[in-house]
Protein backbone atom coordinates (compact mmCIF):
# COMPACT_ATOMS: atom_id res chain seq x y z
CA UNK A 1 0.00 0.00 0.00
CA UNK A 2 2.77 2.37 0.99
CA UNK A 3 4.65 2.12 -2.26
CA UNK A 4 1.52 2.55 -4.32
CA UNK A 5 0.89 5.88 -2.68
CA UNK A 6 4.41 7.03 -3.31
CA UNK A 7 4.21 6.10 -6.95
CA UNK A 8 0.98 8.00 -7.35
CA UNK A 9 2.74 11.06 -6.12
CA UNK A 10 5.49 10.79 -8.69
CA UNK A 11 2.97 10.75 -11.47
CA UNK A 12 1.13 13.70 -10.06
CA UNK A 13 -0.26 16.32 -12.42
CA UNK A 14 2.43 18.48 -11.00
CA UNK A 15 5.22 16.45 -12.60
CA UNK A 16 6.05 19.10 -15.13
CA UNK A 17 6.81 21.62 -12.42
CA UNK A 18 8.76 19.02 -10.56
CA UNK A 19 10.84 18.42 -13.63
CA UNK A 20 11.50 22.12 -13.91
CA UNK A 21 12.51 22.23 -10.26
CA UNK A 22 14.79 19.29 -10.89
CA UNK A 23 16.48 21.18 -13.66
CA UNK A 24 17.24 24.04 -11.33
CA UNK A 25 19.91 22.01 -9.76
CA UNK A 26 20.78 21.42 -6.20
CA UNK A 27 23.01 18.40 -5.90
CA UNK A 28 20.33 15.72 -5.84
CA UNK A 29 18.43 17.36 -8.64
CA UNK A 30 21.56 17.58 -10.69
CA UNK A 31 22.02 13.89 -10.36
CA UNK A 32 18.51 13.22 -11.52
CA UNK A 33 19.07 15.43 -14.54
CA UNK A 34 22.25 13.53 -15.20
CA UNK A 35 20.36 10.27 -14.95
CA UNK A 36 17.90 11.51 -17.52
CA UNK A 37 20.77 12.43 -19.79
CA UNK A 38 22.75 9.27 -19.31
CA UNK A 39 19.79 6.90 -19.48
CA UNK A 40 16.79 8.29 -21.24
CA UNK A 41 18.60 9.87 -24.16
CA UNK A 42 20.54 6.73 -25.13
CA UNK A 43 17.46 4.56 -24.67
CA UNK A 44 15.47 6.83 -26.94
CA UNK A 45 18.27 6.73 -29.52
CA UNK A 46 18.38 2.95 -29.44
CA UNK A 47 14.61 2.84 -29.80
CA UNK A 48 14.75 5.02 -32.90
CA UNK A 49 17.57 2.91 -34.31
CA UNK A 50 15.56 -0.29 -33.82
CA UNK A 51 12.56 1.27 -35.52
CA UNK A 52 14.57 2.41 -38.52
CA UNK A 53 16.24 -0.98 -38.73
CA UNK A 54 12.91 -2.79 -38.60
CA UNK A 55 11.40 -0.55 -41.23
CA UNK A 56 14.44 -0.60 -43.50
CA UNK A 57 15.23 -4.29 -43.28
CA UNK A 58 11.83 -5.29 -44.68
CA UNK A 59 12.74 -3.75 -48.01
CA UNK A 60 15.98 -5.63 -48.52
CA UNK A 61 15.45 -8.90 -50.34
CA UNK A 62 18.43 -11.27 -50.24
CA UNK A 63 19.12 -14.76 -51.50
CA UNK A 64 18.33 -15.96 -47.99
CA UNK A 65 15.06 -14.09 -47.73
CA UNK A 66 14.20 -10.73 -46.31
CA UNK A 67 16.85 -9.05 -44.15
CA UNK A 68 15.82 -9.83 -40.58
CA UNK A 69 14.50 -7.09 -38.35
CA UNK A 70 15.05 -6.70 -34.62
CA UNK A 71 12.24 -9.09 -33.75
CA UNK A 72 13.70 -11.89 -35.83
CA UNK A 73 17.15 -11.31 -34.38
CA UNK A 74 15.79 -11.39 -30.88
CA UNK A 75 14.02 -14.65 -31.67
CA UNK A 76 17.29 -16.14 -32.85
CA UNK A 77 19.05 -14.90 -29.74
CA UNK A 78 16.57 -16.83 -27.66
CA UNK A 79 16.94 -19.87 -29.92
CA UNK A 80 20.73 -19.77 -29.68
CA UNK A 81 20.54 -19.56 -25.93
CA UNK A 82 18.05 -22.44 -25.94
CA UNK A 83 20.41 -24.50 -28.09
CA UNK A 84 23.17 -23.78 -25.66
CA UNK A 85 21.08 -24.97 -22.71
CA UNK A 86 20.02 -28.08 -24.58
CA UNK A 87 23.64 -28.85 -25.38
CA UNK A 88 24.65 -28.37 -21.77
CA UNK A 89 21.83 -30.67 -20.68
CA UNK A 90 23.07 -33.27 -23.12
CA UNK A 91 26.54 -32.90 -21.73
CA UNK A 92 25.45 -33.34 -18.12
CA UNK A 93 23.36 -36.29 -19.17
CA UNK A 94 26.37 -37.82 -20.89
CA UNK A 95 28.56 -37.49 -17.84
CA UNK A 96 25.82 -38.87 -15.63
CA UNK A 97 25.55 -41.84 -17.96
CA UNK A 98 29.29 -42.44 -17.83
CA UNK A 99 29.21 -42.15 -14.06
CA UNK A 100 26.47 -44.74 -13.93
CA UNK A 101 28.36 -47.05 -16.28
CA UNK A 102 31.49 -46.75 -14.14
CA UNK A 103 29.41 -47.49 -11.07
CA UNK A 104 27.95 -50.55 -12.72
CA UNK A 105 31.36 -51.75 -13.86
CA UNK A 106 32.66 -51.38 -10.34
CA UNK A 107 29.80 -53.41 -8.95
CA UNK A 108 30.43 -56.06 -11.56
CA UNK A 109 34.01 -56.19 -10.34
CA UNK A 110 35.53 -55.03 -13.63
CA UNK A 111 39.19 -53.98 -13.58
CA UNK A 112 40.02 -50.38 -12.59
CA UNK A 113 41.27 -49.56 -16.09
CA UNK A 114 37.86 -50.20 -17.52
CA UNK A 115 36.20 -48.02 -14.89
CA UNK A 116 38.63 -45.21 -15.54
CA UNK A 117 37.94 -45.42 -19.22
CA UNK A 118 34.33 -44.53 -18.57
CA UNK A 119 35.22 -41.77 -16.16
CA UNK A 120 37.77 -40.18 -18.45
CA UNK A 121 35.65 -40.17 -21.53
CA UNK A 122 35.18 -36.63 -22.83
CA UNK A 123 31.93 -35.36 -24.19
CA UNK A 124 32.31 -34.25 -27.77
CA UNK A 125 29.44 -32.00 -28.58
CA UNK A 126 29.02 -29.12 -30.96
CA UNK A 127 30.29 -25.77 -29.72
CA UNK A 128 27.30 -23.56 -29.05
CA UNK A 129 27.14 -19.84 -29.57
CA UNK A 130 27.82 -19.22 -25.89
CA UNK A 131 30.81 -21.61 -26.01
CA UNK A 132 32.17 -19.68 -28.96
CA UNK A 133 31.88 -16.43 -27.04
CA UNK A 134 33.78 -18.01 -24.17
CA UNK A 135 36.51 -19.27 -26.50
CA UNK A 136 36.88 -15.89 -28.16
CA UNK A 137 37.06 -14.07 -24.85
CA UNK A 138 39.65 -16.46 -23.51
CA UNK A 139 41.71 -16.18 -26.68
CA UNK A 140 41.62 -12.41 -26.86
CA UNK A 141 42.51 -12.03 -23.19
CA UNK A 142 45.40 -14.48 -23.47
CA UNK A 143 46.80 -12.76 -26.54
CA UNK A 144 46.27 -9.34 -25.03
CA UNK A 145 47.88 -10.15 -21.70
CA UNK A 146 50.86 -11.76 -23.39
CA UNK A 147 51.23 -8.70 -25.61
CA UNK A 148 51.01 -6.35 -22.65
CA UNK A 149 53.63 -8.26 -20.72
CA UNK A 150 55.99 -7.87 -23.64
CA UNK A 151 55.00 -4.40 -24.77
CA UNK A 152 55.06 -2.46 -21.51
CA UNK A 153 58.69 -3.27 -20.62
CA UNK A 154 59.78 -2.63 -24.21
CA UNK A 155 57.87 0.63 -24.21
CA UNK A 156 59.53 1.72 -20.97
CA UNK A 157 63.02 0.92 -22.19
CA UNK A 158 62.44 2.49 -25.59
CA UNK A 159 60.93 5.58 -23.99
CA UNK A 160 63.80 6.05 -21.58
CA UNK A 161 66.66 5.86 -24.03
CA UNK A 162 66.94 7.99 -27.08
CA UNK A 163 69.27 5.56 -28.78
CA UNK A 164 66.96 2.62 -28.27
CA UNK A 165 64.09 4.75 -29.48
CA UNK A 166 66.00 5.44 -32.67
CA UNK A 167 66.72 1.75 -32.97
CA UNK A 168 63.21 0.48 -32.36
CA UNK A 169 61.26 3.19 -34.07
CA UNK A 170 61.59 1.95 -37.66
CA UNK A 171 60.74 -1.59 -36.62
CA UNK A 172 57.68 -0.44 -34.76
CA UNK A 173 56.57 1.83 -37.55
CA UNK A 174 56.84 -0.93 -40.11
CA UNK A 175 55.09 -3.66 -38.15
CA UNK A 176 52.37 -1.49 -36.69
CA UNK A 177 50.27 -1.20 -39.84
CA UNK A 178 50.53 -4.88 -40.80
CA UNK A 179 47.11 -6.44 -41.12
CA UNK A 180 46.41 -9.44 -38.90
CA UNK A 181 45.43 -11.40 -41.96
CA UNK A 182 49.00 -11.12 -43.18
CA UNK A 183 50.34 -12.44 -39.89
CA UNK A 184 47.98 -15.37 -39.79
CA UNK A 185 49.61 -17.72 -42.34
CA UNK A 186 53.04 -17.00 -40.89
CA UNK A 187 51.92 -17.65 -37.35
CA UNK A 188 50.10 -20.83 -38.37
CA UNK A 189 53.11 -22.26 -40.12
CA UNK A 190 55.56 -21.27 -37.42
CA UNK A 191 53.34 -22.64 -34.67
CA UNK A 192 52.89 -25.99 -36.36
CA UNK A 193 56.63 -26.18 -36.94
CA UNK A 194 57.76 -25.08 -33.51
CA UNK A 195 55.00 -26.18 -31.21
CA UNK A 196 55.26 -29.97 -31.38
CA UNK A 197 54.38 -31.77 -28.23
CA UNK A 198 52.90 -35.14 -27.36
CA UNK A 199 50.40 -33.72 -24.96
CA UNK A 200 49.89 -30.10 -25.96
CA UNK A 201 48.80 -27.77 -23.22
CA UNK A 202 47.00 -25.56 -25.73
CA UNK A 203 45.19 -26.30 -28.93
CA UNK A 204 47.18 -25.17 -31.93
CA UNK A 205 44.21 -23.22 -33.21
CA UNK A 206 44.03 -21.40 -29.90
CA UNK A 207 47.72 -20.56 -30.08
CA UNK A 208 47.40 -19.32 -33.64
CA UNK A 209 44.55 -16.98 -32.80
CA UNK A 210 46.10 -15.78 -29.57
CA UNK A 211 49.47 -15.09 -31.18
CA UNK A 212 47.93 -13.14 -34.01
CA UNK A 213 46.11 -11.08 -31.40
CA UNK A 214 49.40 -10.61 -29.57
CA UNK A 215 51.20 -9.46 -32.68
CA UNK A 216 48.59 -6.83 -33.33
CA UNK A 217 48.22 -5.77 -29.69
CA UNK A 218 51.92 -5.09 -29.18
CA UNK A 219 52.26 -1.90 -31.13
CA UNK A 220 49.79 0.54 -29.65
CA UNK A 221 50.96 -0.39 -26.15
CA UNK A 222 54.64 -0.04 -27.04
CA UNK A 223 54.12 3.28 -28.77
CA UNK A 224 51.93 4.78 -26.06
CA UNK A 225 54.09 3.50 -23.23
CA UNK A 226 57.18 4.94 -24.91
CA UNK A 227 55.45 8.27 -25.46
CA UNK A 228 54.31 8.32 -21.84
CA UNK A 229 57.74 7.43 -20.54
CA UNK A 230 59.59 9.93 -22.67
CA UNK A 231 57.06 12.59 -21.75
CA UNK A 232 57.71 12.44 -18.02
CA UNK A 233 57.90 16.02 -16.82
CA UNK A 234 61.44 17.33 -16.84
CA UNK A 235 60.88 18.81 -13.40
CA UNK A 236 60.04 15.43 -11.96
CA UNK A 237 63.16 13.98 -13.53
CA UNK A 238 65.11 16.84 -11.95
CA UNK A 239 63.55 16.01 -8.60
CA UNK A 240 64.77 12.46 -8.99
CA UNK A 241 68.23 13.74 -9.88
CA UNK A 242 68.36 16.01 -6.85
CA UNK A 243 67.26 13.07 -4.71
CA UNK A 244 69.85 10.87 -6.41
CA UNK A 245 67.33 8.12 -7.00
CA UNK A 246 68.76 4.93 -8.42
CA UNK A 247 67.71 3.90 -11.91
CA UNK A 248 65.30 1.31 -10.57
CA UNK A 249 63.74 3.61 -7.97
CA UNK A 250 63.41 6.34 -10.55
CA UNK A 251 61.67 3.96 -12.93
CA UNK A 252 59.36 2.50 -10.34
CA UNK A 253 58.58 5.64 -8.36
CA UNK A 254 58.56 8.32 -11.02
CA UNK A 255 58.66 7.15 -14.62
CA UNK A 256 56.18 4.32 -14.37
CA UNK A 257 53.47 6.05 -12.33
CA UNK A 258 53.84 9.11 -14.43
CA UNK A 259 53.21 7.18 -17.63
CA UNK A 260 50.35 5.07 -16.30
CA UNK A 261 47.69 7.16 -18.06
CA UNK A 262 49.45 6.73 -21.41
CA UNK A 263 50.08 3.04 -20.80
CA UNK A 264 46.40 2.53 -20.22
CA UNK A 265 45.54 4.47 -23.33
CA UNK A 266 47.78 2.04 -25.22
CA UNK A 267 46.27 -0.98 -23.53
CA UNK A 268 42.77 0.18 -24.34
CA UNK A 269 43.63 0.69 -27.98
CA UNK A 270 45.36 -2.67 -28.05
CA UNK A 271 42.45 -4.57 -26.61
CA UNK A 272 40.10 -2.92 -29.07
CA UNK A 273 42.31 -3.87 -31.97
CA UNK A 274 42.87 -7.34 -30.54
CA UNK A 275 39.18 -8.05 -30.41
CA UNK A 276 38.63 -7.01 -34.01
CA UNK A 277 41.67 -8.92 -35.14
CA UNK A 278 40.57 -12.05 -33.36
CA UNK A 279 37.20 -12.22 -35.11
CA UNK A 280 38.92 -11.84 -38.47
CA UNK A 281 41.52 -14.46 -37.61
CA UNK A 282 38.89 -16.92 -36.46
CA UNK A 283 36.92 -16.46 -39.65
CA UNK A 284 39.90 -16.91 -41.86
CA UNK A 285 41.57 -19.78 -40.03
CA UNK A 286 38.42 -21.57 -38.96
CA UNK A 287 39.69 -21.42 -35.41
CA UNK A 288 36.96 -21.88 -32.82
CA UNK A 289 35.32 -18.69 -31.65
CA UNK A 290 32.77 -16.12 -32.68
CA UNK A 291 34.45 -15.58 -36.03
CA UNK A 292 34.05 -19.23 -36.90
CA UNK A 293 30.43 -19.08 -35.85
CA UNK A 294 29.81 -16.24 -38.28
CA UNK A 295 31.65 -18.03 -41.05
CA UNK A 296 29.79 -21.30 -40.44
CA UNK A 297 26.46 -19.54 -40.56
CA UNK A 298 27.52 -17.79 -43.74
CA UNK A 299 28.40 -21.14 -45.33
CA UNK A 300 25.22 -22.69 -43.98
CA UNK A 301 22.93 -20.33 -45.77
CA UNK A 302 19.75 -21.42 -44.01
CA UNK A 303 16.80 -19.13 -43.63
CA UNK A 304 17.88 -18.33 -40.10
CA UNK A 305 21.52 -17.67 -40.95
CA UNK A 306 21.18 -13.97 -41.52
CA UNK A 307 19.49 -13.43 -38.20
CA UNK A 308 22.06 -15.58 -36.45
CA UNK A 309 24.91 -13.65 -38.03
CA UNK A 310 23.28 -10.49 -36.84
CA UNK A 311 23.08 -11.89 -33.34
CA UNK A 312 26.80 -12.59 -33.58
CA UNK A 313 27.51 -9.11 -34.92
CA UNK A 314 25.63 -7.54 -32.05
CA UNK A 315 27.34 -9.83 -29.56
CA UNK A 316 30.75 -8.94 -30.98
CA UNK A 317 29.93 -5.27 -30.72
CA UNK A 318 28.54 -5.57 -27.24
CA UNK A 319 31.50 -7.58 -25.96
CA UNK A 320 33.93 -5.15 -27.57
CA UNK A 321 32.09 -2.36 -25.84
CA UNK A 322 32.20 -4.13 -22.49
CA UNK A 323 35.91 -4.86 -22.86
CA UNK A 324 36.52 -1.19 -23.54
CA UNK A 325 34.41 -0.15 -20.55
CA UNK A 326 36.33 -2.61 -18.41
CA UNK A 327 39.64 -1.09 -19.48
CA UNK A 328 38.23 2.36 -18.92
CA UNK A 329 37.23 1.44 -15.38
CA UNK A 330 40.70 0.05 -14.73
CA UNK A 331 42.20 3.18 -16.22
CA UNK A 332 40.08 5.42 -14.03
CA UNK A 333 41.04 3.39 -11.01
CA UNK A 334 44.74 3.37 -11.64
CA UNK A 335 45.26 6.71 -13.27
CA UNK A 336 46.32 9.61 -11.09
CA UNK A 337 45.33 12.05 -13.81
CA UNK A 338 41.75 12.50 -12.65
CA UNK A 339 41.43 15.66 -14.66
CA UNK A 340 41.83 13.83 -17.96
CA UNK A 341 38.52 13.38 -19.71
CA UNK A 342 38.14 9.70 -20.25
CA UNK A 343 35.39 8.43 -22.47
Amino acid sequence: METAVVERKVFDIDWYHRLLALMEGDDLNKRVTQLIHSLIVPIAAIGIFLMLWGAGAKNVETSLGVLPGPAKVWEQTVTLYGEHNAEKDKETAFYERMQAKAEKAREAGKPQAKIDKYLNRKYVGTATFVDQIGTSLLTVMSGFILASLIAIPIGIIVGMSNTLYQAFNPIIQIFKPVSPLAWLPLVTIVVSAVYVSEDPMFEKSFLNSALVVTLCCLWPTIVNTAVGVSGVSKDLINVSRVLKLSWLTKTMKIVLPSSVPMIFTGLRLSLGIGWMVLIAAEMLAQNPGLGKFVWDEFQNGSSNSLARIMVAVLAIGFIGFMLDRGMLMLQKNFSWDKSAVLR
Binding site: N238, V242, I254, W336, D337, K338
Partner: protein, 293 residues
Amino acid sequence: MNSYLKIDHVGITFPTDNGPLEVLKSVNLDIEQGEFVSLIGHSGCGKSTVLNIVAGLLQASTGGVILEEKEVDEPGPDRAVIFQNHSLMPWLSVYDNVRLAVDQVFKRSKSKAERDEWTRHNLELVHMSHALDRKPDEISGGMKQRVGIARALAMEPKVLLMDEPFGALDSLTRTHMQDSLMEIQTELNNTVIMITHDVDEAVLLSDRIVMMTNGPSATVGEILEIDLPRPRDRLALAENPQYNHYRAEVVRFLHERHEQPARVDVKPEETVTEEPLQKVKVAAKPESLRLVS
Protein backbone atom coordinates in the same frame (compact mmCIF):
# COMPACT_ATOMS: atom_id res chain seq x y z
CA MET B 1 88.26 30.77 -0.70
CA ASN B 2 86.76 30.07 2.69
CA SER B 3 83.24 31.28 2.04
CA TYR B 4 80.53 28.66 2.55
CA LEU B 5 79.27 28.62 -1.02
CA LYS B 6 81.43 30.04 -3.75
CA ILE B 7 80.30 30.60 -7.30
CA ASP B 8 83.64 31.06 -8.97
CA HIS B 9 83.95 32.55 -12.46
CA VAL B 10 81.06 30.50 -13.72
CA GLY B 11 80.33 30.76 -17.40
CA ILE B 12 78.16 28.62 -19.58
CA THR B 13 77.72 28.36 -23.31
CA PHE B 14 74.89 26.47 -24.93
CA PRO B 15 75.13 25.08 -28.42
CA THR B 16 72.17 26.39 -30.37
CA ASP B 17 71.04 26.27 -33.98
CA ASN B 18 72.63 29.67 -34.53
CA GLY B 19 75.95 28.66 -33.10
CA PRO B 20 77.12 28.71 -29.50
CA LEU B 21 75.29 31.04 -27.13
CA GLU B 22 77.18 32.34 -24.13
CA VAL B 23 74.48 32.76 -21.53
CA LEU B 24 76.62 33.40 -18.45
CA LYS B 25 80.04 34.91 -18.27
CA SER B 26 82.23 34.98 -15.22
CA VAL B 27 79.60 34.96 -12.52
CA ASN B 28 81.20 35.44 -9.11
CA LEU B 29 79.40 35.20 -5.83
CA ASP B 30 80.37 34.32 -2.29
CA ILE B 31 77.65 33.30 0.10
CA GLU B 32 77.99 32.84 3.83
CA GLN B 33 76.28 30.13 5.79
CA GLY B 34 72.77 31.14 6.82
CA GLU B 35 72.66 33.94 4.30
CA PHE B 36 69.55 34.65 2.25
CA VAL B 37 70.48 35.84 -1.22
CA SER B 38 68.05 36.88 -3.94
CA LEU B 39 68.83 36.83 -7.62
CA ILE B 40 66.99 39.41 -9.60
CA GLY B 41 67.24 40.34 -13.23
CA HIS B 42 65.17 40.44 -16.31
CA SER B 43 63.57 37.44 -17.91
CA GLY B 44 65.94 35.29 -19.92
CA CYS B 45 69.12 36.75 -18.46
CA GLY B 46 70.20 33.44 -16.97
CA LYS B 47 69.02 33.33 -13.37
CA SER B 48 67.64 29.82 -13.61
CA THR B 49 70.82 28.77 -15.32
CA VAL B 50 72.89 30.01 -12.36
CA LEU B 51 70.62 28.17 -9.98
CA ASN B 52 70.75 24.97 -12.01
CA ILE B 53 74.53 25.10 -12.07
CA VAL B 54 74.61 25.44 -8.29
CA ALA B 55 72.13 22.58 -8.08
CA GLY B 56 74.38 20.51 -10.33
CA LEU B 57 71.60 20.00 -12.85
CA LEU B 58 73.70 21.89 -15.40
CA GLN B 59 77.45 21.81 -15.83
CA ALA B 60 79.29 25.10 -16.07
CA SER B 61 81.45 25.48 -19.17
CA THR B 62 84.01 27.51 -17.26
CA GLY B 63 84.61 28.04 -13.58
CA GLY B 64 82.79 26.09 -10.91
CA VAL B 65 80.79 26.01 -7.73
CA ILE B 66 82.39 25.16 -4.41
CA LEU B 67 80.27 24.22 -1.43
CA GLU B 68 82.07 23.74 1.87
CA GLU B 69 85.42 23.43 0.11
CA LYS B 70 84.10 20.74 -2.22
CA GLU B 71 83.40 21.21 -5.89
CA VAL B 72 79.82 20.64 -6.99
CA ASP B 73 79.63 18.41 -10.04
CA GLU B 74 76.34 16.57 -9.74
CA PRO B 75 72.92 17.15 -8.23
CA GLY B 76 72.35 16.03 -4.68
CA PRO B 77 69.97 16.45 -1.77
CA ASP B 78 72.42 18.79 -0.01
CA ARG B 79 71.30 21.40 -2.52
CA ALA B 80 67.52 21.06 -2.50
CA VAL B 81 65.69 22.79 -5.30
CA ILE B 82 62.23 24.29 -5.08
CA PHE B 83 60.88 24.67 -8.58
CA GLN B 84 58.51 27.33 -9.72
CA ASN B 85 55.75 24.90 -10.59
CA HIS B 86 56.08 22.91 -7.36
CA SER B 87 56.88 19.66 -9.27
CA LEU B 88 55.11 17.34 -6.87
CA MET B 89 54.29 13.83 -8.02
CA PRO B 90 50.61 14.11 -8.86
CA TRP B 91 49.97 10.47 -8.00
CA LEU B 92 51.36 10.73 -4.49
CA SER B 93 49.64 12.28 -1.50
CA VAL B 94 51.10 15.31 0.23
CA TYR B 95 52.59 13.04 2.87
CA ASP B 96 54.01 10.57 0.36
CA ASN B 97 55.60 13.32 -1.70
CA VAL B 98 57.63 14.44 1.28
CA ARG B 99 58.12 10.90 2.50
CA LEU B 100 59.67 9.89 -0.84
CA ALA B 101 62.41 12.45 -0.28
CA VAL B 102 62.81 11.59 3.40
CA ASP B 103 63.08 7.87 2.62
CA GLN B 104 65.70 8.53 0.01
CA VAL B 105 67.85 10.93 2.02
CA PHE B 106 67.63 9.19 5.40
CA LYS B 107 67.52 5.62 4.08
CA ARG B 108 70.23 4.53 6.46
CA SER B 109 70.42 7.16 9.16
CA LYS B 110 66.80 7.15 10.35
CA SER B 111 64.46 4.34 11.34
CA LYS B 112 61.05 4.00 9.74
CA ALA B 113 59.30 5.61 12.68
CA GLU B 114 61.80 8.46 12.71
CA ARG B 115 61.27 9.06 9.02
CA ASP B 116 57.52 9.19 9.53
CA GLU B 117 58.02 11.60 12.39
CA TRP B 118 60.40 13.76 10.33
CA THR B 119 57.99 13.88 7.39
CA ARG B 120 55.17 15.02 9.63
CA HIS B 121 57.39 17.52 11.36
CA ASN B 122 58.36 19.23 8.13
CA LEU B 123 54.79 19.36 6.91
CA GLU B 124 53.85 20.86 10.26
CA LEU B 125 56.50 23.51 9.69
CA VAL B 126 54.74 24.70 6.54
CA HIS B 127 51.30 24.31 8.14
CA MET B 128 50.19 21.45 5.94
CA SER B 129 49.41 18.87 8.61
CA HIS B 130 45.72 19.07 7.90
CA ALA B 131 46.05 17.78 4.34
CA LEU B 132 48.46 14.89 4.58
CA ASP B 133 46.35 12.51 2.53
CA ARG B 134 45.34 14.87 -0.21
CA LYS B 135 46.70 14.67 -3.71
CA PRO B 136 48.39 17.71 -5.28
CA ASP B 137 45.40 18.14 -7.59
CA GLU B 138 43.19 18.58 -4.58
CA ILE B 139 45.06 21.44 -2.94
CA SER B 140 45.62 25.07 -3.91
CA GLY B 141 48.71 26.44 -5.62
CA GLY B 142 49.97 27.97 -2.40
CA MET B 143 49.56 24.68 -0.57
CA LYS B 144 51.44 22.83 -3.29
CA GLN B 145 54.31 25.24 -2.96
CA ARG B 146 54.27 24.71 0.81
CA VAL B 147 54.59 20.99 0.26
CA GLY B 148 57.44 21.63 -2.16
CA ILE B 149 59.17 23.68 0.52
CA ALA B 150 58.52 20.99 3.13
CA ARG B 151 60.02 18.41 0.80
CA ALA B 152 63.11 20.54 0.28
CA LEU B 153 63.49 21.34 3.98
CA ALA B 154 63.08 17.67 4.85
CA MET B 155 66.25 16.89 2.93
CA GLU B 156 68.15 19.04 5.45
CA PRO B 157 69.98 20.72 2.61
CA LYS B 158 73.08 22.80 3.05
CA VAL B 159 71.69 25.22 0.52
CA LEU B 160 68.09 25.81 -0.43
CA LEU B 161 67.66 26.83 -4.05
CA MET B 162 64.39 28.44 -5.02
CA ASP B 163 63.48 29.31 -8.58
CA GLU B 164 60.70 31.87 -8.43
CA PRO B 165 58.99 29.86 -5.74
CA PHE B 166 56.01 32.17 -5.46
CA GLY B 167 55.86 33.42 -9.03
CA ALA B 168 52.78 31.43 -9.90
CA LEU B 169 50.79 32.51 -6.85
CA ASP B 170 48.30 35.33 -6.44
CA SER B 171 49.58 38.28 -4.45
CA LEU B 172 47.72 37.52 -1.23
CA THR B 173 48.92 33.92 -1.15
CA ARG B 174 52.38 35.12 -2.03
CA THR B 175 52.32 37.45 0.96
CA HIS B 176 51.40 34.56 3.24
CA MET B 177 54.10 32.38 1.75
CA GLN B 178 56.74 35.06 2.23
CA ASP B 179 55.76 35.42 5.87
CA SER B 180 55.88 31.65 6.30
CA LEU B 181 59.26 31.53 4.69
CA MET B 182 60.63 34.25 6.96
CA GLU B 183 59.23 32.40 9.96
CA ILE B 184 60.92 29.17 8.88
CA GLN B 185 64.11 31.03 8.10
CA THR B 186 64.20 32.50 11.62
CA GLU B 187 63.84 29.00 13.00
CA LEU B 188 66.21 27.06 10.75
CA ASN B 189 68.57 29.72 9.43
CA ASN B 190 69.10 28.04 6.07
CA THR B 191 71.45 29.21 3.39
CA VAL B 192 69.14 30.25 0.59
CA ILE B 193 69.44 31.41 -2.99
CA MET B 194 66.12 32.61 -4.32
CA ILE B 195 65.26 33.84 -7.78
CA THR B 196 62.52 36.40 -7.91
CA HIS B 197 60.98 38.97 -10.17
CA ASP B 198 59.36 40.77 -7.30
CA VAL B 199 61.34 43.70 -5.94
CA ASP B 200 59.40 43.87 -2.67
CA GLU B 201 59.88 40.19 -2.12
CA ALA B 202 63.59 40.49 -2.71
CA VAL B 203 64.02 43.38 -0.28
CA LEU B 204 61.76 41.88 2.34
CA LEU B 205 63.40 38.46 2.46
CA SER B 206 67.05 38.93 1.55
CA ASP B 207 70.27 39.71 3.27
CA ARG B 208 71.70 40.54 -0.11
CA ILE B 209 70.20 41.11 -3.52
CA VAL B 210 72.27 40.11 -6.50
CA MET B 211 71.24 41.99 -9.59
CA MET B 212 72.16 40.38 -12.85
CA THR B 213 72.90 42.18 -16.07
CA ASN B 214 71.05 41.49 -19.26
CA GLY B 215 72.03 38.48 -21.31
CA PRO B 216 73.66 37.15 -23.33
CA SER B 217 76.92 36.87 -21.41
CA ALA B 218 75.06 37.90 -18.29
CA THR B 219 76.94 38.36 -15.08
CA VAL B 220 76.55 39.89 -11.65
CA GLY B 221 75.79 43.59 -12.11
CA GLU B 222 75.42 44.98 -8.61
CA ILE B 223 75.07 43.53 -5.17
CA LEU B 224 72.88 45.29 -2.66
CA GLU B 225 73.26 44.61 1.06
CA ILE B 226 69.92 44.79 2.80
CA ASP B 227 70.68 45.97 6.28
CA LEU B 228 67.26 45.81 7.86
CA PRO B 229 66.71 44.32 11.30
CA ARG B 230 64.96 40.98 11.59
CA PRO B 231 62.30 39.91 12.18
CA ARG B 232 60.94 42.08 9.44
CA ASP B 233 57.37 43.19 9.31
CA ARG B 234 56.04 44.15 5.92
CA LEU B 235 53.62 46.75 7.24
CA ALA B 236 56.20 48.52 9.36
CA LEU B 237 58.73 48.37 6.54
CA ALA B 238 56.41 50.08 4.09
CA GLU B 239 57.07 53.33 5.89
CA ASN B 240 60.72 52.66 6.56
CA PRO B 241 62.84 55.09 4.47
CA GLN B 242 65.71 52.63 4.37
CA TYR B 243 63.44 49.95 2.95
CA ASN B 244 62.14 52.31 0.32
CA HIS B 245 65.65 53.30 -0.54
CA TYR B 246 66.59 49.68 -1.16
CA ARG B 247 63.49 49.20 -3.28
CA ALA B 248 64.35 52.24 -5.31
CA GLU B 249 67.91 50.99 -5.80
CA VAL B 250 66.73 47.70 -7.24
CA VAL B 251 64.11 49.34 -9.40
CA ARG B 252 66.68 51.81 -10.63
CA PHE B 253 69.03 49.01 -11.58
CA LEU B 254 66.38 47.07 -13.43
CA HIS B 255 65.10 50.19 -15.09
CA GLU B 256 68.51 51.37 -16.24
CA ARG B 257 69.55 48.11 -17.69
CA HIS B 258 66.33 47.04 -19.22
CA GLU B 259 64.03 49.87 -20.09
CA GLN B 260 66.74 51.66 -22.03
CA PRO B 261 68.84 48.97 -23.58
CA ALA B 262 70.14 51.42 -26.19
CA ARG B 263 71.34 53.73 -23.46
CA VAL B 264 70.50 57.10 -24.93
CA ASP B 265 72.40 59.52 -22.75
CA VAL B 266 69.95 62.17 -21.75
CA LYS B 267 70.90 64.28 -18.81
CA PRO B 268 67.85 64.61 -16.59
CA GLU B 269 68.73 68.11 -15.26
CA GLU B 270 68.81 69.60 -18.73
CA THR B 271 65.39 68.38 -19.75
CA VAL B 272 63.89 69.73 -16.59
CA THR B 273 65.39 73.22 -16.95
CA GLU B 274 64.48 73.60 -20.57
CA GLU B 275 60.86 72.66 -20.15
CA PRO B 276 59.79 73.24 -16.61
CA LEU B 277 56.08 72.73 -17.17
CA GLN B 278 56.45 69.35 -18.82
CA LYS B 279 53.76 66.87 -17.84
CA VAL B 280 54.97 64.11 -15.61
CA LYS B 281 53.26 60.81 -15.15
CA VAL B 282 53.25 59.64 -11.55
CA ALA B 283 52.57 56.04 -10.74
CA ALA B 284 52.10 54.67 -7.26
CA LYS B 285 51.57 51.15 -6.13
CA PRO B 286 48.17 50.96 -4.41
CA GLU B 287 49.61 49.00 -1.49
CA SER B 288 52.07 51.78 -0.76
CA LEU B 289 49.33 54.41 -0.54
CA ARG B 290 47.91 55.27 2.84
CA LEU B 291 44.99 57.46 3.69
CA VAL B 292 45.69 59.97 6.42
CA SER B 293 42.93 61.96 8.08
